[in-house]
Symmetry: C3
Subunit: 326 residues, 3 copies
């Protein structure tokens, strides 16, 4: 699938890619065209991928990519079709190559090709407030409402019967039907992802998007960042209260309820029918199972299995916590 | 008093009300007009009320309502003038009936009848920025200031000497004199109240408003939700810092000070002269007494008596907390 | 240096100053002109200063100020050149005198002298969105971008290659080069500083500004308050995630990384190369050293020495915390 949000500037010759990585000698003599960069699982024979941890060994064994940015000690896990490109830091090298393919995904400036909605084809199809701005190639469904001063940036798709509040900014996002995004939200900006570097941090591209499924509600003043390589998703009929922050690559299941001022750090996965109390914090890269209940104010720093009720910081079984903290 | 914010679509015949609740047989043969739905205490002889917990037994004993949505095991607490309507879930039934009376209070779309303030009678009486939008029937006092891009929706009343910041949205709110609401706030949207339901949550109406008393200050990026059946109130000379979230039905007393990023969950009551440190969370339905001090970062999960100083999660006596956590 | 943001209404005769403090008898007969109020260290011979705590004794011993607002029990610490003005509450008296010199620094109303950027000299030099408002005497560097509906108030200076998001408000701020301020931020409003007083709190002036050094990024929905007597500063190449609150007088070093929803209370100082996890709270008037790491969700209530890793509430050595909280 072609990513509608970020233009792929490739293909690039292998030699061009090796050059930006400052790799001068490379055993493979051909100079193939490489058309895209993807993760181990999704890459195709004329693409490049990356592999940074033994944790992903089994997927690496079967990747279809032609080349893989990796470490010396991991290179033997790759299949014959995939030639290793050895680097000092897989993340930095991957970031540099991704930025070469997708230079527009590194930083987000405001969308300067928006128009007043009155001057667009939506003038007759959508109910809208004052000073609503619409980017190029935006798609809006039937019976939508967009409040005052809101900005729907280029390529955003919004389904039927959606209501967008006032002063809200939406970019790089796919919204299904019957969704309500309240006032003062920012949906779809790049995540807080970069490599720390003295004097000048190195930002990495975010080519993922935000997907908000049917029937969700997103409260006032919330921020949902888009993904880096994958997407940030909010499942069907999940409701978020005010002032919530959802970081990049987070995936939340369906029918979940998240109270005010919750923060979920990057790449964590939250199941279905989960209830999260106010001000809960969830660390990055965790898995919160289905039907989990997390008491307000808790700090979650490890995975939570299905059907658990937890509380505290670090969050643990709620009965144990309350017994210990009478 | 007629609610100026939400139009009552009643009266409705009792038979119409029973019909939406799918109640086919009802011992009372008359088909009275019912003109409103109110809580046990405030309802009048031609109104309907609801009663869901023994906790409210004494009030129920004296209600003046003609009908009461309740449970089988509570019906005998009602006086003779009040006929019980037995349901499986009092909250859901009450929500459905309230939505019948007040359909506009279920969801909040942007106010599409606002005008540029220059085109209103306030053009000469108020000092205002660019792109200020004013709804129908708004009332603004003397010497008020309204910043750029702010939106004052229909029926809002603001007293004398008030200053509203920029990019702020105010709806369903009554603001007294000498109040300052800073930038990027959203005041008066519906609370985060609904009945969870697979695939489609059931929202309940919020017919309460927000009341902000004399001399308050509300910091940037704060959200104050309006009440469901009662109002959300901020007492005289109470100051809120930035990024605070006040949920529906919360009542805060006078001369209180609330530092940044505090969240107060639904229906909690905070007394006078209370000091709340940054990032404190207060669970719903609690009572925080007068002259209480809550240390920053605390999580309050039970009532706090007058004159207490508390800290921790769960918050307890501050000396005990500090002794245990050296 | 003349403060470009707040006009000094002085000089004032000593007699005028004594009068607003309701001091009728004063041993010194002269009626000098006093041209400014500054802290102990920075005040000059024709200025007034204040001294409230023995902690600052050594600095008081050497102040150059002509007069000093102080307590009876501290007056003997002042040098001969500096006459004590004895008051009941140094903070209140200092606030009153500062407000006399700088009446515009007490409250922040919206800047009503802004113009549409199209009508300013920046029309050809800056890339800007719709409805961008620019105050008097604003300075913008080369290659800057300003998003839709953003407001740059009077006297703000922004360096080269900066990108300001949409719906963002900047006032009383000095921004260096290569800075990115994302959407929905409020930078430079007065701090949450006042003297609690029944029925009418007494606000004190904030004559400090916000300074954001080269290469910083400030995430969406963040608020950074300006200083009261000193400035609030964000060091070079420091990145802030979304929904962060930085209170007045806070100073953050360079190359630091602060994750989402962190709050730092007034006058705290954070070093260089500090990493702060999501939702951390830091109390006021603390010193966080260089190279410190604070785990997400922690509450910091005392100073943290250089090179420490801390976690918990109250935050302590991370290993001790994790051992105790398995």
């Amino acid at each position: 699938m072609v990513n509608p949000f970020f233009k792929n500037n490739g293909p690039f010759k292998l030699s061009e890619i090796l050059k930006v990585l400052s790799i001068e000698t490379f055993e493979n003599n051909s100079d193939l065209n490489i058309i895209d960069i993807k993760d181990l699982q999704n890459s195709n024979p004329n693409e490049i991928t990356f592999f940074h941890s033994k944790k992903y060994k089994l997927i690496a064994n079967n990747t279809k990519a032609a080349f893989c940015i990796t470490y010396e000690n991991l290179k033997n896990e790759l299949p014959k079709n995939c030639k290793p490109i050895i680097v000092d830091n897989v993340f930095v090298a991957t970031s540099i190559i991704t930025a070469k393919f997708y230079p527009d995904a590194v930083i987000d400036d405001y969308d300067y090709n928006v128009e007043q909605i009155n001057d667009t084809k939506f003038n007759d199809n959508v109910k809208f407030g004052k000073n609503v701005l619409i980017g190029q190639n935006v798609s809006l469904g039937l019976n939508c409402l967009i409040g005052h001063n809101s900005i729907i940036e280029k390529n955003v798709t919004i389904g039927d019967n959606c209501s967008i509040g006032s002063n809200t900014i939406i970019r790089n996002t796919l919204i299904k039907d019957n969704v309500r995004i309240l006032d003062n939200c920012v949906i779809g900006k790049h995540g807080f992802g970069f490599f720390p570097n003295q004097n000048k941090n190195l930002r990495y591209p975010h080519i993922g998007i935000v997907i908000i499924e049917d029937g969700c509600e997103i409260g006032c003043g919330s921020t949902i960042d888009r993904g880096s390589m994958s997407n940030t998703t909010i499942g069907k009929n999940t409701y978020l209260d005010n002032q919530i922050h959802i970081a990049h690559n987070v995936r939340i299941g369906k029918n979940s309820i998240i109270a005010g001022q919750v923060g979920i750090a990057g790449s964590s996965v939250v199941g279905d029918n989960v209830k999260i109390g106010g001000q809960v914090g969830i660390s990055g890269h965790l898995k919160i199972g289905n039907n989990v209940e997390i008491a307000g104010g808790s700090g979650v720093i490890k995975d939570i299995p299905d059907n658990s009720k937890v509380m505290g910081y670090p969050a643990k079984n709620i009965r144990d916590f309350l017994r210990k903290n009478k």
